[in-house]
């Protein structure tokens, strides 16, 4: 997946006629939409949703500032760059996503 995102990102930056502000935001297929957020430190956040969600940039930003930084970065036991190994992070992330207005468990 990284290769694809990297290619899309450099494609977007080359295509952009003016100074690129936010860069690559999301792409959609007929079945899903992929949202992308990258921090200046090179961290990439990807979220796949269905087509009804138009802009998840703020959500991803919130996940970065309030969840990733708090529970992973500030935890000296978590090695940056390896798999995210924090129970607390996983449970908080899960609770946050479930509380999002556009998340609703679809009846099977």
């Amino acid at each position: 997946m990284y290769g694809m995102l990297f290619s899309i990102r450099s494609f977007v930056s080359k295509m952009s006629p003016l100074d690129m502000k936010d860069g690559f935001l999301s792409f959609q297929t007929s079945k899903y939409r992929l949202h992308y957020y990258e921090t200046p430190s090179g961290l990439k956040f990807v979220m796949n949703t269905d087509l009804s969600v138009s802009n998840a940039r703020e959500t991803l930003q919130h996940i970065y500032s309030n969840l990733y930084v708090e529970y992973i970065v500030k935890n000296p036991v978590c090695v940056l760059g390896h798999n995210l190994d924090s129970e607390l992070f996983s449970s908080r992330l899960d609770a946050f996503i479930r509380a999002l207005p556009y998340y609703s468990p679809r009846a099977a």
């Binding site: 990284y2 921090t39 430190s41 930003q61 500032s65 990733y68 500030k74 940056l80």
Partner: protein, 180 residues
Amino acid sequence: MSRQSNRTTDSKKMNSELFTLTYGALVTQLCKDYENDEEVNKQLDKMGYNIGVRLIEDFLARSSIGRCQDFRETADVIAKVAFKMYLGVTPSVTNWSPAGDEFSLILENNPLVDFVELPDNHNTLIYSNLLCGVLRGALEMVQMAVDVRFVQDTLRGDNVTEIRMKFIKRIEENLPAGDE
């Protein structure tokens, strides 16, 4: 109204004193453990580096600053936003080299060295060397390799504390080895 403001400044002063004392205890312990100023300087730099690579994430999350366009902007952000946010001081940015790749941060007062005096047998110790490591680590995470050194230090008798920062190169993003 005035009572409220007193309370906030008091709590800020309390935090900075605890921080200063903690840092002092850290340096003292390192000196006891290593007994060699050069080694202590190296360790402080290493610790600073580890702090810096994480601190940058916290900084980016709290300040919501985007990518800097050039080194000058980086210098301004470091001095006006980062130092203000973490140490409560705003150094001035001066002494730009003609090529625009080197500058100095001048700190009138350094919160790490409140109450500190260097004894005579430690005159090669760079007390605040942690800051150099922090700056180096943080900038490396935003793809900038820099060299950071102290050129003046109030603990060694100079009037101000001066940190010299030199831009070495841009770190290119490497693609991870394909594992598909």
